[in-house]
């Protein structure tokens, strides 16, 4: 299914949407499509919101962010995220902030159809006073543990390396919470680098059977500037360049106009970047 059609069908204004990817396989192409289609009032969920969430926030798509670490990995701040939190630009952003362990437990609980995740966590941190976490007592041992409400997004979106003709999905390398977010979400969209007749075994790979996945959309290069293990490397230079692009509101809007709003899909986006660099 074309990515634009999947986004039009499955993502509505006001939805809780999780685009996941722990550094690897970040679904940038799908995030760009949300921006092109002008989605509003989204609650965005992600452990490590980075550049694509900076773009969604800066373009006014988000009302709330549920997260555990919001930075540009190896570079520094996310300036659009900071501008929204510190100055309410372009709109105020409500935060629900967790630790990584809490977010991971919440996704795993959602995938397992449980109302909450349980962990030894949130001790010795002021976070507990500002987020949705509760203390529970183990019925067997009396130990005190932390409970976090399960993540059950309306839509989970991930990128993967391969789909086969029947719509089974295969991904490998750093796995993040890709499997959990697809299984925890009511609807899911998976973009892939390549569609093959049949895929073979890969060491350490996760396979999501077609009947457990919603839309599968071909989007080669759709993780850029993140990477797809076995296809292309992380564009570390882009992450470094994003710092300057995103620091200034006007420079940010110009960049988004040219490379996202001014393009119709991931192919045009990639070509527009090549022209910009040359």
């Amino acid at each position: 299914m074309p990515l634009a059609d999947a986004v039009a069908r499955d993502v509505r204004d006001g939805d809780v949407v999780a685009l996941e990817g722990f550094t690897h396989l970040i679904p940038h192409a799908a995030g760009h499509e949300l921006i092109r289609q002008g989605r509003r009032d989204l609650t965005l969920v992600r452990m490590t919101p980075d550049v694509v969430y900076d773009q969604l926030i800066g373009m006014g798509c988000a009302r709330k962010l549920v997260f555990s670490w919001g930075g540009n990995p190896g570079v520094g701040s996310l300036h659009r995220f900071r501008d929204a939190v510190e100055n309410g630009w372009p709109a105020p952003l409500e935060l629900e902030e967790h630790s990584h362990a809490g977010m991971a437990a919440a996704y795993a609980a959602g995938a397992a159809n449980l109302p909450f995740g349980v962990l030894r966590g949130y001790t010795g941190t002021d976070l507990a006073a500002w987020t949705r976490v509760a203390t529970i007592v183990c019925p067997f041992t009396g130990q005190k543990l932390s409970a976090v409400p399960a993540h059950r997004p309306d839509v989970g979106i991930v990128h993967a390396q391969l789909a086969d003709r029947r719509g089974n999905v295969q991904l490998w390398g750093i796995l993040g919470v890709q499997k959990e977010v697809v299984l925890a979400s009511r609807r899911s969209i998976v973009t892939v680098e390549e569609v093959v007749e049949e895929f073979g075994p890969v060491a350490g790979a996760v396979v999501l059977p077609s009947w457990a996945v919603g839309a599968v959309c071909l989007a080669p290069g759709g993780a850029h500037p993140s990477y797809a293990h076995g296809y292309y490397d992380r564009d570390n230079d882009f992450y470094a360049r994003w710092d300057a692009i995103s620091r200034d509101r006007d420079a940010f809007r110009r960049w988004m106009d040219r490379h996202v709003l001014g393009t119709s899909d991931v192919g045009e986006y990639r070509r527009s970047l090549e022209v910009a660099i040359a």
């Binding site: 996310l78 995220f81 900071r82 966590g121 750093i174 796995l175 919470v177």
Partner: protein, 238 residues
């Protein structure tokens, strides 16, 4: 540069690396901690196990990664696990010996702030946030902190406590080394780096810094340490 000419960052990486015991399982962040652990592997502790929170266990990068999820970590790892497994089975399962943390602020008990400057609901500066820190700080057997020494960072009172200092065993700075001492486990200056006057560390600390009676000078980086370190840095820069 000769063995006596080294940068403050190099001294920090070398000193943190020396404190890693052979075979330690380390939960590593990007930047100086990653450099320190890789230096330990390249020198006295080749069996150091590098665990990155992205899920790579036993990563053996030949170049320094920019992010904790770079492909080189997955390619060289003994095994790659999902993020829920990483935090539940490996960190919460208490299989990590040393966790590394940095922060924007630290107090005299090793509590750290990486969340906000100012108030939480109307911050002056919104920082990236804790990520894995709250649980690393309470579930790794011990915690190494690496921070540059300044009054902005070493504060009397944190704006926000992101993680607990209860398991912090050492703070390596660009001026020296602080370790918890006494029943209060107050961070105390136990080493200064070569040529550093302890008064400088006092001035760069926002609370009245205790200086150990047995204060020592950190040995400067050896030629072997510097060569190994620079080889890692050069590879990372390519």
């Amino acid at each position: 540069m000769t063995r006596h000419e080294h940068t403050a960052d190099e001294m920090m990486a070398v000193e943190a690396a020396r404190r890693l015991r052979e075979g330690s399982v380390c939960f590593v962040g990007i930047g100086l901690p990653s450099l320190a652990c890789n230096l330990a592997r390249a020198t006295h502790a080749p069996e150091t196990v590098l665990v990155y929170e992205s899920g790579t266990i036993g990563a053996k990068p030949t170049e320094l990664p920019l992010s904790i999820g770079d492909g080189v970590l997955a390619e060289t790892a003994d095994v790659v696990v999902s993020v829920p497994e990483m935090f539940a089975y490996w960190l919460q399962g208490e299989r990590i010996d040393v966790g590394f943390l940095g922060a924007a602020q630290i107090d005299r008990h090793g509590n750290l702030n990486s969340t906000v400057i100012g108030s939480y609901d109307a911050p002056k500066v919104r920082l990236p946030g804790g990520g894995g820190a709250p649980e690393i700080a309470t579930q790794a057997r011990e915690v190494f902190v690496m921070l540059r020494h300044s009054r902005r960072t070493f504060v009397e009172r944190l704006d926000f406590r992101t993680s607990s200092g209860e398991r912090v065993s050492v703070v390596v700075t660009d001026l020296g080394v602080l370790e918890p001492r006494g029943s209060e486990r107050e961070l105390t200056l136990t080493h200064v780096h070569p040529g550093v006057d302890p008064e400088r560390a006092r001035e760069a600390t926002g609370w009245p810094l205790r200086v150990a009676a047995d204060l020592r000078e950190t040995p400067p980086p050896s030629e072997r340490e510097l060569t190994a370190l620079r080889s890692l840095e050069t590879k990372g820069a390519e």
